[in-house]
């Protein structure tokens, strides 16, 4: 069965050209970048060239790019690194309620160690309130960490305004841009971003490699102690193939950014409008315009997300849900609850994230399958029965 993949926010397929660039570093170019002989030096050079490529995308300097083992490691490094290096200045951090666990749980860890964290609310479309942000700032605030775009509902935050506020108050500004990179044009200087996390596998690069941009002026601690790699900021023999792959993937993503965005938005808008037209009792989650080009998150009322996913899987369709059953916790997605969804509507959410290889035909097929599955699941839903009977409303 041919797989129809609509879960590009979870991960993407490694681009063939990217793999081609990686392969020498998985075969003949096997030296350790720290070695001084030519087999080592060529690997070192590959890493430095990769750093240049990544820096260029963000209008940054190569010395401001650090490679890591994942987006999560980048988030941990950024937040813990700034927190512990600037503890003398203050112990207060501001973030939001809808961050990825790599940010949220890092903040919670810091709370256990004497830091204070403000978790900003978001409105029903997932946007932070800039006034609330300003009011949260104290003279102990050392870091604002707010994600660029949300991984579940796709909402894009007013990053430029947040950057301005951070700069005015001389507070470091970190953004988890794992979902934004490859989809949105990002100039760290124009946007006043001091630290930025990214993960290669979200933009057709390999899994297990990330990067962190850190402005030259930012003081931050080393997270993984040991050798002098990454200008003494991240120990461990470098994943050279992964780093080369990351840089090629990001370069390709930004070469075709506009073209790809146009394509993704077309698929997304087609999907949303068709679903809203064809299936009753649905709700679009996230902001209608300020959202990632490939993201469509819709709740199908009266049904539960996991069973929806399993039925799609039977048809070879890959998508994702904010249902508790797929989140590994007791509650449905903290993001969906933060935008004010009641639990049962959150349980019925379906996140569809399009990628460059998806076609209009794919989307139409998806819609057709969904109509049928949603109908069937509603037919077997006691909530829907009660709703039809008039004894239940949501």
């Amino acid at each position: 069965m041919k797989i129809k993949y609509f879960d590009h926010a979870a991960t993407t397929k490694l681009n063939e050209d990217v793999l081609k660039e990686m392969l020498p570093y998985l075969t003949e170019e096997y030296g350790n970048p720290s070695s001084i002989y030519s087999l080592g030096r060529s690997n070192k050079k590959a890493i430095e060239d990769a750093r240049e490529k990544v820096a260029k995308v963000f209008n940054a300097d190569a010395k401001e790019i650090y490679f890591t083992g994942s987006g999560s490691e980048s988030d941990n490094t950024a937040i813990k690194g700034v927190a512990y290096a600037n503890r003398k200045k203050g112990n207060h951090i501001i973030t939001t309620k809808i961050e990825h666990p790599a940010v949220l749980d890092t903040c919670k860890s810091l709370e256990k160690d004497g830091f204070e964290v403000t978790y900003l609310n978001v409105d029903s479309e997932g946007l932070v309130d800039l006034e609330e942000l300003k009011n949260a700032i104290t003279d102990k605030t050392i870091l604002i960490t707010i994600m660029f775009a949300n991984n579940e509902i796709g909402t894009i935050q007013p990053i430029e305004e947040i950057g301005k506020i951070a700069k005015q108050h001389k507070i470091y500004f970190h953004t988890d841009a794992v979902q934004a990179v490859g989809n949105i044009d990002i100039d760290v200087n124009k946007l006043n971003i001091d630290l930025l996390s990214l993960s290669a596998h979200k933009f057709y690069g390999p899994k297990g490699v990330g990067a962190l941009y850190v402005r030259k002026t930012v003081r931050f601690n080393k997270f993984i102690d040991g050798g002098h790699q990454e200008r003494n900021k991240r120990a461990g023999t470098e994943n050279v193939a992964g780093i080369v792959g990351l840089s090629k993937a990001i370069e390709m993503a930004y070469e075709k950014l506009d073209e790809n965005n146009r394509h993704l938005k077309e698929l997304r808008d087609l999907y949303i409008s068709e679903i809203e037209e064809k299936i009753p009792y649905v709700k679009l989650n996230g902001h209608r315009e300020k959202r990632l080009p490939g993201n469509a998150n819709i709740s199908f009322k009266f049904i539960e997300g996991e069973s929806l996913l399993l039925n799609l899987d039977i048809k070879g369709i890959c998508a994702s849900s904010g249902s508790a059953c797929t989140s590994g916790s007791l509650d449905p997605s903290h993001v969906l609850l933060a935008i004010g969804l009641i639990h049962e509507v959150a349980h019925g959410s379906l996140r569809v994230t399009f990628g460059i290889e998806n076609t209009k035909e794919d989307v139409i097929e998806l819609i057709t399958e969904l109509e049928e599955i949603v109908n069937r699941l509603r037919e077997m839903s006691p909530l829907y029965e009660d709703f039809v009977d008039g004894t239940y409303t949501m």
Binding site: E306, S307, L310, N311, S323, M380, E385
Partner: protein, 148 residues
């Protein structure tokens, strides 16, 4: 993740639907938790002659409901009351630790339907509780315990 048997049941759930004028209806679970099961029983001469279900929930919830209806169909009430959540799990060739609560829910749904039947028959609440040993299912998944 799921056994072949579970997958077969959520792909082709048996006895989906409702019974108009059922002799007993049980509804357990909570929309907040993401699981609701409703079981309809048709009972004749102490025997469950027909059974239907509706479920709002994950794949395991659907599969446990479906297998439970198969297990009770044609059984006496006493036999049906003997069906434990463990039996449900075994019949499905196992469930992931995080999904064990669904089997509990299925057991409870059957018992709740039988309790409803007894209630309609005029049995006292205490007597029903004695026979059916109904627990109150709450939002407790067993993920984290099971995974560690």
């Amino acid at each position: 993740m799921y056994s072949k048997k579970v997958m077969d049941h959520y792909e082709h759930p048996r006895n989906v639907g409702q019974i108009v004028g059922a002799d007993g209806v049980g509804k357990v679970g909570n929309p907040v938790c993401g699981d609701i099961m409703k079981i309809y029983l048709k009972i004749k001469d102490n025997v469950i002659v027909d059974v239907k279900f509706k479920t709002f929930g994950c794949g395991a919830a659907i599969a446990t409901s479906s297998i439970s209806t198969e297990l009770v169909k044609g059984k006496t009430i006493e036999e049906a009351l003997d069906i434990t959540n463990k039996r449900v799990v075994d019949e499905l060739d196992g469930l992931p630790p995080a999904k064990m609560h669904c089997s509990v829910l299925a057991e409870e749904a059957i018992k709740a339907a039988i309790a409803d039947y007894y209630t309609k028959k005029g049995m006292s609440k205490e007597d029903i509780d004695k026979v059916c040993s109904l627990k109150n299912t709450v939002c407790v998944h067993s993920h984290d315990i099971g995974q560690e």
